[in-house]
């Protein structure tokens, strides 16, 4: 029964995928959308069942299907594990997934390939569930690569546009760099532990299995590289902003709420190993903090509404990695969840705006939308307040915990994190003001068509906004349900901060920082009524930021171009030389033959002379020399 239900949980979205890909074209659009949504909703229901069960019994549900790979010193089974961590993840993956599917029914209704959209989206959920549910690293890797594939398919969903295809390709390849790291990490772990099952590795460590610390460190670093790829951290983050080429629900589901948290899931899942390698954790913390600052600074000046949100995602993920690096896995998970709520809401809200403006994404051409799109505006406002970290919204609690932990462990990182948070507050309110306040700056025709989105779009917004509002309740400072819930899957008990003066002071600083950010944005865009200048007029530091520190250009110059140059060298020099050498051997043979040909001149006299001389020399050799 449990096995079957777990399989239903896993395969419901896959069934949705199969139906939509094979028969979707014949079905009506609403039906394909409904099918896709129901498929994910079924998974959500099953997850809820297991969640409630595990909440009571506190014992994980294990499902073992059959052997997949058999290697000399370890085997890999198709086996799944539903424990506290995976169920928590599944809850928001399938939950938010259902909402976003529902949203897409309306959002994608005009697209001719809507059935494909739902098929890919279902496939994505399937792989994401695989990633989360797997009980060993290789099953996770199936999901890991699978979500990458779906991300590729969905970013390039409008495949007629080659720029979108470029973005899709870039996402896949960047992810693959990380995947190589992941694979190498798996190799080393398999070599060290003779297994890739999480539970067995954990058990071996508890039984005093001695592990080479240096190799373990390398393995963890490799896995972290994998996480960097998937969760868009420095230096592999550049694909995520480009990934906004995909339809907005995709950005919300894959590139904000779920897939990009896979790296965080992996590190949390392996927390018992990461705890053994403090050096790697330190690297993770630094990378996370720096990513959060870099991305936030780029976000300050972007004008594309989705790009701002994308950089904000990178920045928030950076903060989460900071928490992971500090060993505060529970807090990281907490922020992942709250972030999933408010970021999904923000993306869907931006989608609602884009929908209303018929594809316009540039904030310079928006404004004043709060009057016509009331629901969108209110939900957007709640989420913006949440991400800016103002109490009592959910983001406040999770972000504050991260900064508090950073303050206790590493002050410079706290400073960086706080700066990033202030910037976040600024650019999010900049986004809010430019989009919803003042007067509409678009064309007359757009203005004419402005409308609030239909219920299918607003309903998910409302749900997510409520969650963004109250989500912080799962881990209030001092009495955290989440910490308690996650305790069985954590190797070390969660740190407990007494709410002393320092803590209240830190909260105060965070709130004041956020208010400063908001204040600056207010002064600039409401009081002065500024509108960001056109691309050509951007100068100075702003220009560097606007062009994302030219990171893409640098990568092109130092990686892509050299590869092509080497390719040209190989093609025009090495290949020609090797080929020439082989042909040269052939030609040498011909040449030798031509030389020999001249001896064969046809003169019988000459032949006879040579013959006689030959006989004489043989006879001479026999009689004289011997």
């Amino acid at each position: 029964m449990e096995t079957n239900l777990a399989l239903l949980l896993l395969f419901a979205p896959f069934a949705g995928f199969l139906i939509n890909i094979f028969f979707g074209k014949k079905l009506s659009k609403t039906l394909t959308g409904t099918l896709g949504t129901v498929a994910v909703a079924v998974s959500f229901a099953a997850t809820l069942y297991f969640f409630l069960q595990v909440l009571q019994t506190k014992t994980p549900v294990m499902v073992n299907l059959f052997e997949w790979l058999h290697l000399a010193n370890f085997t890999v089974n198709f086996s799944f594990q539903l424990d506290q961590l995976s169920l928590l993840w599944l809850m928001f993956v399938t939950g938010i997934g259902t909402l976003i599917h529902m949203y897409s029914i309306s959002y994608m209704h005009d697209d001719e390939n809507m059935h494909k959209f739902f098929a890919y989206l279902n496939l994505f959920v399937f792989f994401m569930i695989t990633l989360v549910m797997g009980s060993n690293l290789l099953i996770m890797f199936i999901g890991w690569e699978g979500v990458g594939l779906c991300s590729y398919l969905l970013i390039g969903f409008w495949y007629k546009n080659q720029e979108y295809n470029d973005a899709a390709k870039k996402a896949f390849i960047m992810n693959r760099i990380g995947d190589l790291g992941f694979l190498i990490g798996i190799f080393i772990l398999a070599y060290l532990f003779h297994t890739v099952e999480y539970d067995l590795m954990k058990a071996e460590l508890e039984n005093g299995w001695s592990v080479d610390k240096a190799w373990l460190g390398i393995a963890m670093l490799c896995l972290f590289i994998g996480a960097c790829g998937k969760s868009a951290q420095l230096p592999l983050y550049t694909w995520l902003p480009d990934a906004m080429a995909g339809p907005t629900p995709v950005s919300a589901l894959i590139h904000a709420a779920t897939m990009v948290t896979a790296g965080i899931f992996m590190i949390t899942r392996l927390n018992f190993l990461f705890n053994l390698t403090p050096d790697v954790l330190e690297i993770i913390a630094v990378v996370g903090a720096v990513t959060s600052l870099v991305a936030a600074s780029i976000g300050l000046v972007q004008n594309d509404i989705k790009k701002v949100l994308a950089y904000s995602t990178v920045s928030q993920l950076g903060l989460i990695f900071l928490a992971l690096g500090l060993g505060a896995y529970e807090i990281a998970v907490f922020h992942v969840i709250t972030h999933a709520f408010f970021k999904a809401c923000l993306f869907l809200g931006s989608g609602s705006v884009i929908h209303a403006l018929h594809g316009e994404q540039d904030m310079r051409n928006m404004g004043g939308l709060r009057k016509v799109m009331k629901i969108t505006f209110v939900t957007f406002l709640i989420s913006t307040l949440a991400i800016s970290g103002l109490p009592p919204f959910s983001g406040f609690f999770s972000k504050d915990e991260i900064l508090m932990t950073a303050f206790h462990h590493n002050k410079p990182l706290w400073v960086i994190g706080s700066l990033a948070s202030i910037m976040t507050a600024f650019y999010m309110f900049r986004l809010l003001y430019l989009t919803f306040y003042k007067d509409f700056r678009g064309t007359e025709e757009q203005k004419h068509h402005l409308h609030e989105s239909p219920t299918l779009i607003t309903f998910p917004l409302i749900v997510l906004a409520i969650l963004a509002l109250v989500g912080g309740a799962i881990s209030l400072p001092g009495m955290s349900w989440l910490n308690e819930y996650l305790a069985p899957v954590m190797a070390k008990p969660a740190e407990h901060h007494h709410l002393g003066n320092t803590e209240y002071m830190l909260m105060g600083i965070a709130v004041v920082g956020a208010l400063i950010g908001i204040g600056v944005a207010y002064a600039k865009y409401i009081k002065k009524g500024e509108v960001p200048p056109a691309d050509a007029q951007i100068t100075g530091v702003t220009n560097v930021l606007y062009n994302k520190y030219y990171v893409d250009e640098i990568y092109t110059a130092i990686i892509i171009k050299p590869i092509y140059a080497i390719g040209s060298f190989f093609k025009n020099v090495t290949e020609v030389a090797l080929s020439g050498f082989v042909f040269g051997l052939g030609r040498a043979a011909t040449l030798l033959g031509n030389q020999g040909k001249t001896v064969q001149n046809g003169s019988i006299g000459f032949y006879l002379l040579v013959f006689v001389l030959g006989v004489c020399s043989i006879l001479g050799y026999i009689f004289l020399v011997k």
């Binding site: 020999g596 040909k597 001896v599 064969q600 001149n601 046809g602 003169s603 019988i604 006299g605 032949y607 006879l608 002379l609 006689v612």
Partner: protein
């Protein structure tokens, strides 16, 4: 028979046949006329026959003489074939100077 051999000595037979053989070789090498070359080859052949007969007597073994008969018979046949080829060559080339016969060139 013995007397003759004793009187002349096997050495002289060897010298004679060697001389004949060398005459044949030089004839083959330096003459350009195919018939003369052919004759030279016959001289070489007969030089060998002479030597065979001489040694046959020397060893008191008749096998050598029998062998020479075979050899002469085969040589006769060979001459017939060879001359026929030469006639054919003459008809085709209007001459049998071997300098003009270079069809074997590679």
């Amino acid at each position: 028979m013995e007397n003759i051999l004793q009187q002349v000595g096997i050495d002289n037979y060897i010298y004679l046949s060697t001389l004949l053989f060398c005459v044949g070789i030089f004839g083959v090498l330096f003459r350009r006329n195919a018939i003369v070359m052919f004759m030279s080859i016959e001289i070489m052949l007969n030089a060998v026959n002479l030597l065979l007969v001489a040694f046959s007597t020397y060893h008191q073994d008749a096998a050598g003489q029998v062998f020479v008969f075979f050899s002469m018979a085969v040589a006769a046949a060979e001459v017939a074939v060879g001359l026929a080829i030469l006639v054919a060559v003459y008809r085709n080339h209007n001459g049998i100077d071997i300098d003009n016969l270079k069809k074997l060139k590679g």
